[in-house]
Structures are given as structure tokens and as C-alpha cells.
């Protein structure tokens, strides 16, 4: 038995038939070819698959595509607008927030959820918001700086961030 779902992904409505067992992450990667969302574990721990569903960060490996029927999904591919990088993307570039880059899409989506609710997080709050995201390369330090950069940029878009 398949289920017909309509999901708005990065602003575009798509309708597809999915198998009950199809995980949202596989729907995004294999059906919609949005391979920016990664799969890093089998245990729901690593957060590489983090996307926004109706504005909230969730792990797309731990839910079914069918559960997303009717939802608005944002993936890392949906962050930039009109060719302009999102402040969080700029932050990761400016502050060297990535090495291999595997965790980066999930880190950015978790950070976007944090900054939406708390535009001026402390370092501690940033680290707590990343509890569900593992990075095996950076030691997290530059990821925190990247998010601080994005917070400044969002609060004062006109000012050069030092």
C-alpha cells in the first residue's frame, strides 16, 4: 500500500506516492535528489539529517515521509535566497565552521532553528542547541563561532561582521 503525500519542500509543492516505510531522508535524497541532507548513523544520534519541518529542526532519518504530508520542509538547499547565502552559510564560510563538511547541513539547520527562537544566544546556549549534532572533525569550536557570526549578521544586517 502506498500513500499519496503533498509536501512543500523549499517553497515548492510536490506530490508523490510513497511506501509506508520510506524515511523522510530517503524521500528527500532519492526521490527529490536533494542530497544535501546526509545520513550519518543508524541510531538517531548524529543529526546529519536535520531539516526544518514547519520551522522546527527534526531528524529526517527518524520519521516517515508519510508523516510529513501537508508539512513545509526546508533543507539546506533552501537556505540561500536569490543567489544570496543565508547568514548561517556565510558564518560557516567566514569562520571555517567545517572540515569534511559531512555534518554541516545538519549543523546549519539546527542553528537556524536556534536563531529563530533566540537571536542572541550565549556560547553555552549554542552548544546546548547542538546536542543532537555530532561533528567528527572540527571539535565544535569554529561551529560555535560560525553561529555567533550568523547571529550578529541577522541582528545587524547592515554592519560588517568583524
Amino acid at each position: 500500500m502506498s500513500t499519496r503525500i503533498t509536501v512543500t519542500v523549499n517553497g515548492q509543492a510536490v506530490t508523490r506516492d510513497v511506501e509506508g516505510r520510506t524515511l523522510l531522508v530517503h524521500f528527500l535524497r532519492d526521490t527529490l535528489s536533494l542530497t544535501g541532507t546526509h545520513v550519518g548513523c543508524d541510531t538517531s544520534n548524529c543529526g546529519a539529517c536535520t531539516i526544518l519541518m514547519d520551522g522546527q529542526a527534526v531528524k529526517s532519518c527518524s520519521m516517515l515521509a508519510a508523516q510529513a504530508d501537508g508539512a513545509e520542509i526546508t533543507t539546506v538547499e533552501g537556505l540561500s535566497q536569490n543567489g544570496e547565502m543565508h547568514p548561517i552559510q556565510e558564518g560557516f564560510r567566514e569562520e571555517h565552521g567545517l572540515q569534511c563538511g559531512f555534518c554541516t547541513p545538519g549543523m546549519m539547520m539546527a542553528a537556524v532553528d536556534l536563531l529563530k527562537n533566540n537571536s542572541n544566544p550565549s556560547e553555552q546556549e549554542i552548544r546546548e542547541a547542538l546536542e543532537g549534532n555530532f561533528c567528527r572533525c572540527t571539535g565544535y569550536h569554529n561551529i560555535v563561532k560560525s553561529i555567533q557570526y550568523a547571529a550578529k549578521k541577522i541582528n545587524e544586517p547592515e554592519k560588517e561582521v568583524a
Binding site: R21, T43, S44, V58, Q67, A110
Partner: protein
């Protein structure tokens, strides 16, 4: 990893879910936040034939104050409880415990009802619900019934919930003014599940403990009320020495779990340490 083949249906209401459950019997499983069930299905530890999705049911997702009781719908997410002023006003330990569950992504999906129905011995809500004297509301084909949290958790992933019932809500009597509460846990560093967690509520009057309620999860196959601590401290002064003495022997009457994270002896030690911390935090 991909789960076994499974059918999926979204229920329109609690009653619709009940009739779907009756129709499919043992082959069906309710799907709430999915954050215990889907990981288990991915590891093929669980392989239901059909999932009945109740996540979107607004009749299960609310937090309200109803004549001296706090009622939390089973579909409320952990995040809903972190951010609920009503929950925090009733018991500080409610948002405090919610905020210690997993990580932000898990808290955005996982639900109170799913956690209680699943009854993982390392879950945080069971102990908190016992300490808060919660009642668990269940609905089945023959109507509704209520079970005290003290009687709800019957063992390893086992509860008083029948296969044909839905957990609809918990109701918590709002405690007397001046009651303080906390949830303290020693967590497994990757999953953040409790190796040991202690939920405690108490009020102090004229230098003596007037009310006290303490529950422990993570230690045994099910969360339990620490009657030894309650009996030792009721009516006593909450001094560090009295608390130290009262927590001794916590867990001596239950089957203590041991796994590769923590031995039996270590868990017993942690239970005393965390019970002491919790009680000092709310009585000083």
C-alpha cells in the same frame, strides 16, 4: 537502515484510531512522535504491519489548568512542555525534565504519551509522573479509565495500557503553594537517556518536611516511588545529615539493572548521590 514493509494510515480522531486498532488488532501500532518506534523499526527490533498515525490529532495536544489539576494531552511534545508556563507553575520539574530529554530535534517530535506508553526504563517522564502523583488517562473500546502513575509502570517496557487502548492525557494535581520540585539525572552521554534519574517534590513548614514525593528511574526495570526516602524524611528537618541518612538503601528492594554503561553497584551509588542532590536543591 530502512524498516520492514509497513502500511500507514492517519487517524482523523481518537475514536477513529480506536476503531482502526480494533480492525487491525495485534498487527497495528500507534505512531506518535515516532522517536522510539521508528528507530526500533529501522533496527528491525519491531515490525508492525500497519502504523496508525496520531501525531496530528489536536485533541491530544494541549496543556491546560482544569480546576486544580494540570492536564497535559498525550500528544504534547517534550518541547511543548519545556515552553509551557502552566506546566512550570505546577511543578518546576516538568519543564526541567522535558529540557533534559535527548536533544532539540528529539524534543520537537517526541511526545509525553509516547514516552509513557513505551516505558523505557531509562526514560525521564515515568519518574517525574510518579513524583507528581499523576493520573494516566486511557481510552479503549469500552470507554475511559484512569490509572495512577504509581501503578502504571509494571516492568521492563511494560505498563497497565492494554493493546486496544490509547493513552489520552495525564492529569496532575497542582501541589500546595510552596512546594518545590526538581528532576536530576546522570545521563548516558550519547543518547542522553537517564542512567539514573531522580524526581523529587517537597514542601517545608516550620523547619520540618511537610510533604515529600520522590521517584527514581533508570535504576530498575521500571520507575518506582522511593518510599524509603519519603518515610525517613516526612516530619523531619531537611538537614544535610538527615538527607544523607534517608537516601541510604535507595533501590535495595528492587531488581537493579546493569549494562555496559553502569554496573549495579555504580547505579545504586548514583541513585543515592542524585537523590541527595535533588532533595538538597529543593529544601534548602
Amino acid at each position: 537502515m530502512i524498516p520492514n514493509k509497513v502500511d500507514y494510515v492517519r487517524a482523523d480522531s481518537v475514536d477513529d484510531a480506536l476503531s482502526l486498532m480494533a480492525q487491525h488488532g495485534m498487527d497495528a501500532k500507534l505512531l506518535a512522535g515516532g522517536h522510539s518506534l521508528i528507530p526500533a523499526m529501522k533496527l528491525r527490533l519491531n515490525a508492525p504491519g500497519i502504523l496508525i498515525d496520531i501525531r496530528k490529532l489536536s485533541e491530544l495536544r494541549y496543556i491546560k489548568n482544569d480546576g486544580g489539576r494540570l492536564i497535559i494531552g498525550a500528544g504534547s511534545t517534550h518541547h511543548d512542555i519545556v515552553t509551557s508556563e502552566l506546566a512550570g507553575q505546577a511543578y518546576h520539574m516538568l519543564p526541567e525534565a522535558a529540557d533534559l530529554i535527548g536533544d532539540p530535534q528529539v524534543r520537537n517530535m517526541g511526545t509525553l504519551g509516547g514516552s509513557l506508553a513505551h516505558a523505557d526504563p531509562a526514560a525521564d517522564w515515568p519518574g517525574v509522573m510518579i513524583a507528581a502523583h499523576a493520573h494516566i488517562h486511557l481510552k479503549g473500546p469500552d470507554g475511559e479509565r484512569t490509572v495512577a502513575a504509581d501503578d502504571f509502570f509494571t516492568g521492563f517496557y511494560s505498563t497497565a495500557l492494554q493493546d486496544n487502548e490509547i493513552l489520552t492525557a495525564v492529569s496532575i494535581p497542582i501541589p500546595a503553594a510552596g512546594t518545590r520540585s526538581t528532576y536530576q539525572k546522570f545521563m548516558q552521554p550519547a543518547s542522553r537517556f537517564a542512567i539514573v534519574g531522580v524526581a523529587a517534590a517537597a514542601s517545608v513548614k516550620d523547619g520540618k518536611i511537610e510533604h515529600i514525593s520522590v521517584a527514581v528511574n533508570g535504576l530498575a526495570d521500571a520507575a518506582f516511588r522511593a518510599t524509603n526516602i519519603e518515610e525517613a524524611l516526612l516530619g523531619q528537618a531537611p538537614t544535610a545529615a538527615n538527607i544523607e541518612e534517608a537516601v541510604k538503601g535507595t533501590g535495595s528492594d528492587v531488581m537493579v539493572m546493569a549494562d555496559h554503561f553502569a554496573s549495579e553497584e555504580y547505579r545504586l551509588h548514583l541513585a543515592q548521590v542524585y537523590a541527595k542532590r535533588a532533595l538538597l536543591a529543593i529544601t534548602q
